[in-house]
């Protein structure tokens, strides 16, 4: 029994779940709550200032996603990744009067899968786009699943469990050749601030983002909508954001997300290198310790902030709790079906053996070399205790 009374230092390696808000971002949010608190729809000075704040944030996010002038599309501010995905799948699907089919990749986030399921309530058919053994959606898969009736195709840019990167532009081009009116939605929640995101080149009609994955606040996200692409709003009201999303704008959240996006793109290249080295060090430590483990999706193109490791003979959740009790916080992903839990479809899709428990270790801007040194020791120690 680990000593649970003495609390050791805490190393947060679960940045794919959420991140700590950057102090500068928090300052921006706080300023909008205490100073620039006006309603952007008001005609007076306080309203104008708040509106200006949103414009600044829109510019910041637009630059971070490769559409600096807003020439390729527009940004709709939302309550987060889930709403953005719902808009891009269900909201877009509702505008396609003739389509009857939605194709979503096998490793999509539930926000996308369940939005597609809601299209089925309108009489649509939902078809799964298979992934290859590395967890990547393929052009062949698109050819097999997309047909002329397909109104929506959704593929995520970076997977949230194993961080594989999908070739969205290629897939979108093939899909469009088959079904010219198709709406391609891309969930880039795990991509922004982790790899280069360039909506102008991505080939998607809509792209979803969330602030809290990039050291921004929870409860705010955005959907980038390509020029000419259409969505049906989910509700009506005061007509904010051109009627696409009525409701008083979340000025503090929006300003926070703008600031977070700007920060995230500033040091992206160096951070990617840093995260890659962290992952390499952890893998090396596990090898050195003689552990029996696999790096999930090892041979696929991956975003460097996530390392997914499958350990033989380790139940994922107890392993997570042992690490937790020693100050290292990570996520569990399990391919084995515990009684009330469903196996992860992502890990199942890439064929992680049922005997293996998977941990998702994910880095943030604030992760340090020292953290990794500390975590390597605890991780190898904990896994060894299960494997011996």
């Amino acid at each position: 029994m680990p000593n649970r009374m003495a609390k050791p230092r805490q190393i947060y390696l679960d940045n794919a779940a959420t991140t700590r808000v950057d102090a500068n971002v928090a300052k921006v949010v706080s300023e909008c709550m205490l100073e620039t608190f006006g309603n952007p729809s008001s005609a007076h000075q306080a309203g104008i200032e708040a509106e200006r704040r949103i414009k600044v944030a829109t510019g910041q996010l637009a630059r971070a996603i490769g559409d600096p002038d807003g020439s390729f599309g527009r940004i709709i501010w939302t309550s987060g990744g889930t709403e953005s995905d719902a808009m891009g799948v269900l909201g877009a699907g509702r505008t396609k009067k003739k389509a009857t089919k939605v194709v979503v990749s096998a490793i999509e986030h539930p926000a996308v899968k369940q939005s597609a399921a809601m299209l089925c309530e309108l009489g649509w058919q939902r078809v799964e786009l298979p992934v290859d053994g590395h967890g990547v959606a393929t052009v062949e898969g698109v050819r097999k699943t997309v047909d002329t009736d397909t109104g929506v195709l959704a593929v995520m840019l970076v997977n949230n469990e194993i961080s594989t990167i999908a070739p969205i532009a290629e897939l979108a081009a093939v899909a469009r050749a088959i079904s010219p009116d198709i709406h391609v939605h891309c969930d880039a929640v795990q991509a922004l601030g982790k790899i280069e995101v360039n909506v102008a080149e991505l080939g998607a009609d809509s792209v979803a983002f969330a602030a809290h994955k990039l050291h921004g606040p929870k409860g705010v996200g955005a959907l980038w909508l390509k020029k000419g692409a259409r969505i049906q709003p989910f509700w009506a009201g005061g007509g904010q954001q051109d009627g696409l999303r009525s409701g008083t704008d979340n000025v503090p959240g929006i300003a926070g997300m703008g600031a977070a996006a700007e920060l995230a793109s500033e040091d992206l290249a160096s951070r990617k290198k840093r995260h890659k080295s962290y992952a390499d060090r952890l893998v090396a430590a596990c090898e050195e310790a003689g552990l029996r483990f696999l790096v999930n999706a090892a041979d696929a193109p991956r975003a460097p902030h996530v390392l997914s490791l499958a350990f033989d003979a380790c139940p994922a959740e107890p392993l997570l709790h042992v690490l937790e009790s020693r100050g290292v916080l990570v996520s569990a992903g399990s391919a084995c079906a515990e009684k009330s839990r469903k196996p992860s479809p992502v890990l199942t899709a890439i064929g992680v053996p049922k005997t293996h428990g998977t941990l998702r270790i994910s880095f943030g801007r604030d992760t340090t070399d020292e953290d990794i040194t500390f975590a390597s020791e605890i991780l190898t120690d904990a896994v060894r205790s299960f494997q011996s």
């Binding site: 029994m1 139940p315 709790h321 009790s325 009684k339 009330s340």
Partner: protein, 397 residues
């Protein structure tokens, strides 16, 4: 109109709930004790609502302030010993005031409902007899509102009670939770898990007058701290019936590992359960509990057989109460939904650890086999150690 004069504090109150007690009346010489505990429990439950309990011999009235009626009615659903209750309006003790209020309430009944008027006249000095009051008031309602009178099975009873100093009128009777007042039967230790059954078993024990403490076996890291949070959340639901509840958290992992390695695999679950019982006995003795309560249910899972129940009972010196032993699962679920524990119970943080559970647990074990399996282990010392190291958490309602 509600009377201002009939109640000394009435300016604060806009209505009254008439409480009817259940089996308390059966309790002969002990009645005083029961009434006292019932009143104490009622006062505690409504303490923060601004409502007040008035006890006159065996009449219990709860006077509530503006805007608190629904809250008070909801709180009283946790008052064991309460058979039923009626929201009433106090009126002056004259036939005009009584009839006016009865008319007002009758107007709120669904159109076309049949009714009868029932009068209870405790003040024998009142100028009209019970029947006369009923006929007078019933006649007015029937003539002015056109509602049909039905003496045998009316949709509604307009009830009038004429007391010594005041009278009240009501039309609605709401069932209470029944049972006996909490704390009239002594303290018991509930073996609480994160499942559906044990919280319901605890509720049932409280309903028969027991005060609960809970004992929870935690197997970190095989069950995460979210499971513990869930159990504490369930404890909070139960605490609402008695304002606070002490949870003894036993850190079970190390002993569980020893048991798993020591005994044959198919007996593992029974070895754990016997150790849990021994530990619960130690905790119970140290904390003045007179019995243990479990959510066991005959045949619900393969291992819940009469044989296994006997094997588990054998490890306990104390009586083990099993309020749900004959329930159907669906009835347990319905009760869990009713008392509000179901939503928490079905959260997915249950014991994840299939590592500790054999594929084929013994279904018809014999005590002798268990005793043999425990040979070489100082089970008493292990249980004492677990009890000594248990963490105590007091949950407030």
């Amino acid at each position: 109109m509600p009377s201002e004069a009939s109640n000394p504090n009435s300016s604060r109150f806009v209505g009254t709930i008439v409480l009817r007690v259940a089996e308390i009346f059966l309790k002969g010489a002990n009645r005083k004790v029961f009434v006292k505990q019932f009143s104490k429990n009622a006062r505690r439950l409504i303490a923060d609502t601004g409502a007040e309990l008035e006890v006159m011999y065996l009449r219990f009235l709860v006077h509530y302030p503006e805007g608190k009626k629904e809250l008070v009615l909801d709180r009283l659903q946790r008052l064991f010993g309460l058979h039923s209750m009626s929201p009433a309006i106090l009126v002056e003790k004259d036939i005009e005031s009584i009839a006016t209020e009865a008319m007002r309430q009758a107007k709120e009944l669904p159109a076309g409902s049949s009714f009868k008027v029932k009068t209870n006249r405790r003040d024998k000095q009142f100028p009209l007899g019970s029947m006369e009051v009923s006929m007078e008031v019933g006649g007015r309602i029937h003539t002015e509102l056109g509602l049909p009178v039905e003496m045998r099975k009316p949709d509604y009873e307009v009830q009038i009670e004429i007391g010594d100093t005041r009278s009240f009128v009501y039309t609605q009777t709401i069932a209470g939770p029944g049972g006996l007042p909490v704390a009239t039967a002594g303290r018991v230790g509930l073996l609480l898990s994160g499942g559906i059954d044990s919280p319901v078993a605890g509720w049932a024990a409280m309903r028969r007058g027991c005060v609960l403490s809970a004992i929870y076996f935690h197997s970190f890291p095989y069950t995460g701290d979210k499971s513990k949070e869930k159990v504490l959340e369930l404890a909070k639901h139960l605490a609402a019936y008695q304002t606070k509840l002490r949870v003894h958290v036993v850190h079970f992992t190390e002993v569980q590992k020893q048991l798993r390695e020591h005994g044959p695999g198919d007996l593992a679950v029974l070895l754990y359960r016997r150790m849990m019982m021994r530990t619960a006995n130690k905790i119970a003795q140290a904390h003045h509990m007179k019995a243990l309560v479990t959510g066991e249910n005959l045949g619900q899972v393969a291992s819940q057989t009469l044989e296994n129940i006997g094997v588990i009972q054998d490890a306990s010196e104390m009586p083990i109460l099993r309020p749900l032993i004959t329930y159907d699962k669906l009835d347990i679920i319905a009760k869990a939904q009713e008392i509000g524990t179901y939503e928490t119970s079905i959260l997915p943080y249950d014991d994840c650890c299939s590592l500790f559970v054999p594929k084929h647990p013994a279904t018809k074990a014999r005590i002798a086999d268990l005793v043999r399996a425990e040979e070489g282990l100082d089970v008493d010392a292990l249980a004492q150690g677990l009890a000594n190291d248990a963490e105590e958490i007091v949950i407030k309602a």
